[in-house]
Amino acid sequence: MLDFSTLLPALPVLWEGVQMTVLLSISALTLGLIIGTIMCTARLSNSTPLRILTKLYVSFFRGVPLLVQLMLSYYCLPLIGINTPALPTAIVCVGLCSSAYITEILRGGFQSLSPGQKESAIMVGLNRLQIVAFIELPQVIRLTIPALINEAIILVKASSLISVIGIVELTRVTQNLAASNFQPFEFYLTAALVYFILNSTISVLGLWVERRINSRSIV
């Protein structure tokens, strides 16, 4: 019943869409991890203003739909004179949005570490940054890999929203093709397959890292 023959001529456009999705996902995820880690340490710091600020940050970027964030920054910021090109806007928006989720994931990890480890680190003279980087973060990562992989996968799929600011990626190409060829199933299945391949790559990578770490330090 399904007919995939119309797919062939469309392959080059699809490929371009895939490339855009991959490019955006990788750059946004990197940005999200970096900002998420920084935000998380701020969130757990002793300073009240910092804590409140990061709470607001998380509330905003987690609560407001990414679609709206994208539209705000692309269509409203120009009204106050900030006119940024589409791709960087998309990367920053998606990155900031995922950083809010990552902040929370990491926070759970940090808070579930037993305080004793930090204390023994303080007593041998490691400074705050070193404790985070060498004592806590490695363990937090071990604990939160499944959640981080969840987030990475969600990000890859959420990247489809960037089409609202005129960037053509995988989902957009697929919808266009489906609408024009009246073969939604064939095209959607193809897109689903591509997403599946991208995401299971991420997932398998995560499981591999997880197994490697766990095999060494059992709790």
Binding site: T6, P9, A10, L11, P12, V13, L14, L67, M71, Y74, Y75, C76, P78, L79, S163, V164, I165, G166, V168, R172, Q175, N176, L177, A178, A179, S180, N181, F182, P184
Partner: protein
């Protein structure tokens, strides 16, 4: 103003959604359609390059308001409510509403047959409003189901959840011509309506609208328009060359 900006840039930028056959859509992965052909001519007339930005429909109009492009392709049905917020070109297409049904469905032979049947339409669209008005005139009103995306409504004809879908004639005519499973119920019903291109509702845009209207008139006169219409609608249609006063 916008026109002189376009000329000095050497580029006319159009925001549109490439899921709107036969106006803007992909053929074998390439952008084709009535708009493409029409604006190629416009480009030639104005001496500028034409660039398209493909966007989901939700963000097409906000993009226009944020000056991300000069005008919107579409076209969209010209209604009184919409005119409060945007300016429109003269009619580029007829937008009267007709029904799309599954080929061989003998229960619907004319528009009135949809009484008490399931009929789909685009959520909040002009055809939906017309369908509702029409349905209320029937012996038993139709059971109207609204979809956020017309393409899904069309799929529902095949799943059987709806018996027909109401949309503007050019769209469904093109679909029926391309897809062997569908058929158009003729003639159209409801109030006469037209669709046009969308512009910002400000003085800056006036010059651009005027020049596009002029080119439209010129092309109608020299037969280029009829050729394009034949290519995409199958027939040439006579359209009013004056600003539309919407009846819907």
């Amino acid at each position: 103003d916008v026109l002189s900006d376009v000329k000095s840039k050497g580029e006319l930028v159009i925001g549109t959604e490439l899921q709107f056959a036969p106006f803007d859509f992909l053929v074998n992965g390439k952008h084709e359609g009535l708009n493409k052909d029409f604006f190629t001519e416009v480009g030639k007339e104005l001496g500028v390059k034409v660039t398209y930005i493909d966007l989901p429909w939700t963000s097409v109009l906000p993009g226009l308001e944020a000056n991300k492009y000069d005008m919107v392709g579409g076209p969209v049905s010209i209604t009184a409510a919409r005119m409060k917020r945007y300016s429109f070109s003269n009619a580029i297409s007829d937008a009267s509403v007709a029904l799309l049904k599954r080929k061989g469905n003998t229960k619907i032979m004319k528009s009135e047959d949809i009484a008490d049947m399931n009929v789909g339409a685009g959520q909040g669209s002009a055809p939906a409003a017309q369908l509702e008005a029409f349905s209320n005139t029937l012996s038993k009103p139709a059971n109207i189901k609204l979809y956020v995306d017309n393409n899904q409504a069309y799929s529902e004809i095949m799943t059987g959840r709806v018996d027909a879908v109401a949309n503007s004639l050019p769209n469904i005519a093109y679909i029926a011509s391309q897809h062997k499973n569908f058929e158009v119920v003729m003639p159209p019903f409801g109030t006469e309506a037209y669709s046009g291109y969308v512009f910002r509702n400000d003085d800056e845009s006036k010059s651009l609208i005027e020049s596009i209207n002029k080119i439209m008139a010129k092309m109608t006169k020299d037969g280029r328009m009829a050729e394009i219409q034949k290519k995409w609608f199958g027939i040439a249609i006579e359209l009013p060359q004056t600003p539309i006063v919407p009846k819907i």
